[in-house]
Each structure stands twice: as C-alpha cells, then as structure tokens.
C-alpha cells in the first residue's frame, strides 16, 4: 500500500481516526453555519437603523449563496468511489461518467456562486462608490461564499479520509 504513494510526506496516523473524521464533519457544518449567518448578518444590518445609506440587501445578494449551497449539496451527495469505477467490470452503465458530469455541475455551481458573490460586490458596492459601513454588506457576501467553498473542501477531504479508514479496518 505504501509503494504507490506519490508524495514524500505521508499522512499522519491520527488523521485516520474516527475522532478526526467526526471533528472534520462538525467543522464543515460549523463553517457552513458561519457562512449563512455572515450573510444573514448583512441582511439584518441592512434593515436596521444603523444603515444610513440607500443600499439594501435584496434577493440578488442571496442568489450567489443559494448557488454555492446547491453546488456543495451536489458535490457531497455523489459517492466518491464511483469516480474510479470505470476500471472495474461491473460498471457497465457508465457510472463513473455520470458521476463526473454531476460533479462538474456541482463544481460549476460552487464556482459560479463565488464568482457571483464577487460580481455583486463589484457591481453593487464598488462601482457606485458606497462608503464603508455599508460596504461591509458586500464584503460579507464575498466572505460567505468563500466560507461555503471552504466548508465543502473540508467535507470532501473528510469523506475521502473515511475511505482510508474503512480500508484500514478491513485489513
């Protein structure tokens, strides 16, 4: 198993424990929650009396976050083991091909959400020259989409860790 290792540094042993796996999934949930509440904070602040400007959070600001969350849902719903299933004989119906298409759609939604966050930030806040207390709403939009991406990365890595763990247990 160690002969087909590509990298010089191998993963530390504690990464394969159940504890690290559970902590990774809790962390992914926490990061997603943080993303949602950063965006909710901008919406609540926009309607509060502290916001002296004319700029308000509307549905357009939520749209990138919806796309990022959709992408995260798609990516993490796909069974990762089906990606390498083409080399086996039982995958006659092209499961790996389907998995690649669905994963591509998911990553496209995730990246589109991030790009949409930057777009809203630039078009709604930077170009009209909004001053800084109101500018926070645009910054929070970008931060929220980045946090959704980070959360899905953590979840992805953790789920790949799980396979190694199951393999070690089977031996």
């Amino acid at each position: 198993m160690s002969e087909d290792r590509l990298w010089k540094f191998k993963k530390p042993e504690w990464l394969n424990s159940v504890w690290a796996r559970n902590a990774g999934i809790y962390a992914a949930g926490g990061l997603f929650s943080l993303a949602f509440y950063v965006l909710l904070d901008s919406a609540v602040w926009s309607k509060s009396p502290l916001n002296g400007s004319d700029v308000h959070v509307t549905f357009v600001d939520w749209l990138p976050f919806i796309f990022s969350s959709l992408g995260m849902l798609i990516i993490n719903s796909v069974e990762k083991q089906r990606l390498s299933a083409d080399s086996f004989s039982y995958s006659g119906s092209g499961v790996a091909w389907k998995a690649r298409v669905v994963l591509f759609l998911g990553f496209a939604a995730l990246a589109g959400g991030m790009a949409g966050g930057v777009t809203v930030f630039v078009l709604k806040f930077v170009v009209p020259g909004v001053q800084f207390p109101a500018m926070n709403m645009g910054v929070e939009n970008v931060v929220a989409n980045a946090l959704v991406g980070l959360s899905s990365v953590v979840l992805w890595v953790t789920q790949n860790m799980e396979d190694e763990y199951a393999y070690n247990l089977a031996l």
Binding site: Y26, A28, G29, F32, S33, L40, Q81
Partner: protein, 129 residues
C-alpha cells in the same frame, strides 16, 4: 458509583440553572427577548445526531450509506451549535440587543449546551458498564 453519579447530576443541573439564569437575565435586563432563541437552538442541537444515529448502522462499512446518514446528522449538529453563537452576535451587530446581553446569552448558551453534552456522555458511560 451512585454517589459519584448523584454528585455529577447535581453539578450538571447547577450549571444548567446558571446557564438559563444568564440567558433569561440577558433578556429581562434589557427588555429584548430575542436571546431566548439561543436556548431553543441549543436544545434542538443534539436532535439531528440522535435521529440519524437511530437511522443508521455504524458497523456497516461495505455500503457506507449508513455512515453518510451519520455524517448528515453531525453536519446539522455543527450547524446548530455555531448558530447558537452567531445569533446573538448578529443581533448585537444590528443593535437589536446590547453587547452585554450578547455576551451573557453566548456564555449561558454554551453552559446549557455543555451540560447537555456532558450529561449524554456520562449517561452513555453508565450504559456501557
């Protein structure tokens, strides 16, 4: 063993009462009752874990669909725990509640959730014997 269990239960219920006191004080002192949502959040936080652990067989490594359900429960629990901290911060940032009320409700909520977690841990440890 019963004496230690009794001491633990008394200490945990004391901590729980202090947590509730902090949250209710943070509401009543400033006449804004939004921080009560923190209590509801932390009470429902262990529920996804509990439901999903009943739905799945954790020993089933072959299909790994049982582990996916468990992961979903953990994800929702992590979401709700961070929600309990993030909600007072949002309310304080929009000046719906005061900053002292935010600090009191966050600390009280963490005490309540810590009580729930340690109570389930002690309870499971007793079950194993």
């Amino acid at each position: 063993m019963p004496a230690a269990g009794l001491k633990t239960i008394i200490a945990l219920s004391f901590v729980l009462a202090v947590g509730f006191l902090l949250v209710i004080l943070s509401c009543a002192l400033f006449h804004a009752y939004y921080p009560l949502l923190v209590v509801a959040t932390y009470v429902i936080a262990p529920i996804p874990n509990w439901i999903c652990s009943h739905c799945a067989n954790p020993d089933d490594f072959v299909e790994s669909s049982g582990a996916a359900v468990l992961d979903l429960g953990r994800f929702c629990t992590g979401f709700l725990v961070v929600m309990g901290i993030a909600l007072p911060v949002i309310l304080a940032h929009a000046q719906i509640i005061q900053v002292p009320a935010m600090i009191m409700s966050v600390v009280g909520g963490l005490l309540i959730y810590g009580t729930i977690i340690s109570f389930t841990m002690f309870f499971q440890e007793e079950q194993e014997f």
